[in-house]
């Protein structure tokens, strides 16, 4: 289980996360939607300590960190429970697809190079990249790079995988292949938190959707509840804007 209590994060004097409370069950897929600048990325980044939140308690699969008082080794342990898939992939530019997946394994799980490469090549096959093992990131399309990114996160077998807008840097025709890989990952019963602008995808695959605005969780519910019958004014406005932008080619603007 994942339990986040009263998470606070600010940059300088600007409060970005103003007390986030969430619980996520094992195997659950949580989608986070919300306007730009609402703190969605910041939230994910605080969960795996790319950013340090000032206050709150993060608990993942039995590891707990109180952000006001913790030891570095606790943060490392907690981070080990998470995998991150970045918006702009962030593959290691000097490593082949295979080594992007195998090197973290070899270095952080202390297994042999050979075994790490075997696992990595299985993972790449799983995301449909058989035959691309020896390509460097420059020689992969955006969609392929992101699939390597997913394989890299999967290989480490984390408790939860964090996706930060995994498809929003992609050309439209490449979005589908990445979403399909994510759907396959969901079928494995993985716990996932997905920040996304792909509402259709969230509707299809999420168990629960959170609408975030201005550093708060404004509303949460099943996709059906949130998309078809939003309660909060801001949620309604956000979804209306989104629909007018995406489904009606901007007619409503």
């Amino acid at each position: 289980m994942i339990k986040i209590q009263n998470l606070h994060k600010s940059y300088g004097n600007t409060a970005i996360l103003k007390g986030i409370d969430v619980e996520i069950k094992e195997g659950e897929v949580l989608a986070i939607i919300g306007p730009s600048g609402s703190g969605k990325s910041t939230f994910l980044r605080c969960l795996n300590f790319l950013e340090k939140a000032e206050k709150g308690i993060i608990q993942i699969d039995g590891e707990e960190v109180n952000l006001e008082n913790f030891h570095k080794s606790q943060a490392v342990k907690l981070r080990g429970k998470t995998g991150m898939v970045f918006q702009n992939y962030n593959l290691f530019k000097n490593k082949t697809a295979l080594h992007n997946v195998s090197e973290p394994l070899r270095l952080t799980k202390k297994i042999s190079k050979k075994q790490a490469e075997l696992i990595a090549s299985d993972m790449l096959a799983e995301v449909g990249l058989k035959g691309k093992e020896f390509n460097y990131p420059v020689a992969l399309s955006g969609g392929q790079q992101q699939r390597v990114g997913i394989a890299r996160a999967l290989a480490l077998n984390p408790y939860v995988i964090l996706f930060d807008e995994p498809t929003s840097s992609l050309d439209p025709e490449l979005v589908e292949e990445v979403l399909n890989v994510m759907k396959a990952v969901i079928k494995q019963g993985r716990t996932m938190i997905v920040v996304t602008h792909e509402m259709e995808f969230a509707k299809d695959v999420a168990d629960r959707v959170i609408f975030m605005a201005d550093g708060h969780i404004v509303e949460e519910g099943t996709p059906k509840e949130l998309f078809e019958n939003p309660q909060n004014e801001r949620t309604k406005r956000f979804l209306k804007n989104y629909l007018s932008l995406h489904n009606f080619g901007g007619v409503g603007i």
Binding site: F49, G83, L156
Partner: protein
Amino acid sequence: MNFDLGYMIEIFPRIIEYLPIVLYMGTLSFILAVVIGLVFAVIINFKVPVLYQILLIIISYFRGVPTLIQIFIFYFGLPQLFPSLSSLEAITAVIFALSVKNAAYLSEVFRSAFLAVDKGQFEACDAVNMTKWQGLRTVILPQVLRVAIPSSGNYYIMMIKETSLAFTIGVVDMLARAKLESAVTYKFLEAYLTVGLIYWAITVILSFLQSKLENYVERPYRKEATK
């Protein structure tokens, strides 16, 4: 027309005999310059208090003072302050002067190469839970090297050439040898041209090796480079 090609061929072996000392001074200075330059770069990058301020002055100084003058200061000047240095060998003084001076330049090369690495690369290392050192070694430094190699290589070549200043404080290198030869025969053009051509050849060879090395480290970043 008064040019004796035969003489050039004759003295060539006697001059090139001193190539090893040139390469020794240049290479050792370069290695030291890289090491000191890295230390400088770290101090500057982390703005280590006090050391940082002192270093800025040191760097500014070494950039401003001509190499020959710096060699003189080390060789003739320092023993005056520290008598224990009076036995400072000429070669050591040259290596010392060249390495500190070029470390000042290289520190800037390394620092900007480090800054050129995409922030996302550091985050990706953290996100997969590598230690700082693991991330540096496997992901960051190779990318720093890629950016730093072209200009570092140019400094190396320049340093090899700058070692020719060593003859002014009595180091017997190729230039000193040519001077001795021509003092007897008055065939200055032939003697100095021989030295010049040797330096030219070294430069051409090193530039060639450098481009090979650059090609090698560029491999992962070229689109067609797929095995």
